[in-house]
Each structure stands twice: as C-alpha cells, then as structure tokens.
C-alpha cells in the first residue's frame, strides 16, 4: 500500500511528513531505552527478510496481487518500538533507492505501515498475553488488523486528497486488504511458529518496557531444560 507521489494533496502529505518526524524520533529513543539486548541479532535479519518479502507479490484474485507488509511480524519479534524504526528504514530505502512509494508521501507511508501498522499488529498479542495458547491466533489477528488499519489510514488520506468518492474508495481499499490480510496473518503466524521451533521458549516481544534485570535472554526457560529440548 505504498502511496506514490501525486495521489495526496500538499496539505495532507506535508502534515504527515511533519508529524512523522517527531513520532519516529520518539520511537527511536524508546528503542534505545528499552530494547531487549538478546534480540539484537534479529534486527538486521528480520528487517532484511521483510524487505525481501515485500518485493515478492503473489496473486490474490483476478487482477490483483498482494505482498507481505510485515509490521506485525516485526512488532512481535523486535518489539513494537524497534519495529517502527526498522520499518521506517525499509520505507525510506524503498522510496529513495527503489522509487517505491513517493518521497513526499513518505510521512504518510511511515504513519500507515511503520507506526499504525506496527502497533495495531502488536495489540492482539499484547492484549492476549505473550505466552497464552491464543498467541498464534493473536499473531494472525495482528497481521490482519495491521493491514486493515494501514489500509483505512491510506483510504482516509486519499479521501482527504479527494481522489475518489469515499464510498467506493473505502469499500475497495478495505475489501482488498481484508483478503491480503489473510495472507499477512498466515505468514506472520507461521513465521512465529518457525521461530518458536528454532528457539524454544521464544516469547513474543514486550511493548518496550525496560529489559528484565538479570536475564534479558529471549529464552526464558531454565538453561538445562532448553539445552535438552534443542539438543545442544
């Protein structure tokens, strides 16, 4: 849902560009304060994965394709604050290097996908708890809701820019992303299942509270049991 330049009118994109800067700055500081140290190796590799996945479109139905956006996945693995920062970097690189998404529209795209998409993607897991049996459902729901929220925001921005009548605009944006969202949810949940299998005891990331004092290890089970489980 990268908005190119030319869709949004100046009041809309300018306001969002201005607003995006302090918002992202806030999450940069929050990440610096509270990022879980043990997840540092994930920053580069998950960011790179989400970037690559965004490149690969899959057909949805006649005439349309979709691709992973990845906000929920980043939020649940890196924590939502760091996810905002990483997703922003992805969007900036996409706009500057690949001309995917407008430069003036960067603020809007950052708001839609890196801020709102990330935090809405994180919410179900946060509400349901990181280790409940419902966490896989929460991951799927997070993926789906993250796309819907992003699409809704994009539709509002397009509506404010008066590109099309609101009825068809909202209906088609929300309708298409409701379908793409199913794939987003499925990929998000499957990725987290894979991480849990590879890293027993992996817990979906917290919301950016300070790391635990003596053990910021991602794996929270006792070392002996973990070693037995993973055969190390």
């Amino acid at each position: 849902m990268h908005i190119p330049d030319g869709f949004l009118t100046p009041p809309v994109w300018a306001a969002l560009d201005a607003g995006a800067i302090p918002v992202v700055g806030y999450f940069v500081r929050r990440t610096q304060r509270s990022f879980e140290q043990s997840r540092i190796p994930l920053l580069g590799v998950l960011g790179a994965f989400v970037f690559a996945a965004q490149m690969i479109n899959f057909p949805i139905w006649a005439g349309t394709s979709g691709h992973l956006v990845g906000g929920a996945l980043l939020a649940l693995t890196l924590g939502p604050s760091a996810a905002v920062v990483v997703m922003t970097a992805i969007l900036v690189v996409q706009a500057l290097v690949f001309q995917d998404g407008g430069l003036l529209a960067l603020g809007a795209n950052v708001l839609n996908m890196a801020v709102i998409g990330v935090w809405v993607g994180y919410l179900p897991a946060k509400l349901l708890g990181r280790r409940t049996s419902a966490r896989r459902v929460a991951a799927f729901a997070g993926g789906w809701l993250s796309l819907m929220a992003g699409a809704l925001c994009a539709a509002i921005e397009l509506w404010l820019s008066q590109v099309a009548p609101p009825g068809p605009l909202f209906a088609s944006m929300l309708g298409i992303h409701a379908v793409t969202g199913l794939a987003e949810g499925a990929i998000t949940a499957a990725s987290l299942v894979a991480i849990e299998r590879l890293n027993p005891g992996f817990v979906y990331a917290n919301g950016g509270r300070a790391a635990q004092p003596a053990g910021d290890a991602v794996v929270e089970e006792p070392r002996a049991r973990q070693a037995a489980v993973s055969g190390r």
Partner: protein, 95 residues
C-alpha cells in the same frame, strides 16, 4: 538466536534469488484501487533517477539478474541498517 537468524537469512536469499521468478506483476491493492477508481494517472511518473528504480538494476543485462542485483542491494542496505542499529543499542553490562 543463531538458528533463527540462519533460517531467515536462507529464506531471504530464497526470496531474492527465486522469488523474483515467480513474483506476480499484477497491481497490488492500492494500485488496483487507483486504476479502478480512475486516479492512477495522478501518480507522478517521473524519470527513473535511481539506478535501482522499480527493483531492477538498470546497469545489469537480463531481467532476472537485474532484479536479483536490486534485491541484493536492498537486502544489504536494510541488513546493514539493522546491524548498525544493533550496535548503538548494545549497552555495557548486558543491560
């Protein structure tokens, strides 16, 4: 986290090397909506001022290789960003 990083590194490589072969060129959600509702023409087309515009390296012959080159560039940039970010986040004493 080594298994997880290895797993996603391999997936990323597969996406870049093989994904571009099967990727759909159908318009994505927003593009499709723009075309159906008639505002797609507002997008400023603009010259391709970046050598990697639209995820194809302009200086490479052959579609697959051009896309793979662009993919590697992007993946490399994001991975480097993540690594740098990680370095700034490391606190003394494993905070």
């Amino acid at each position: 986290m080594t298994k997880t990083t290895g797993f996603f590194a391999i997936l990323t490589a597969a996406l870049v090397l093989l994904g571009v072969l099967v990727a759909s060129s159908l318009p994505d959600g927003l593009e499709h909506v723009a075309e159906s509702l008639g505002f797609a023409g507002r997008a400023s087309q603009g010259a391709a001022w970046s050598p990697f515009a639209d995820y194809e390296a302009a200086f490479v012959e052959g579609s697959w290789l051009a896309q793979v080159t662009a993919g590697i560039a992007g993946v490399g940039l994001i991975w480097a960003f993540g690594a740098l970010l990680g370095r700034t986040l490391k606190r003394k004493g494993g905070g």
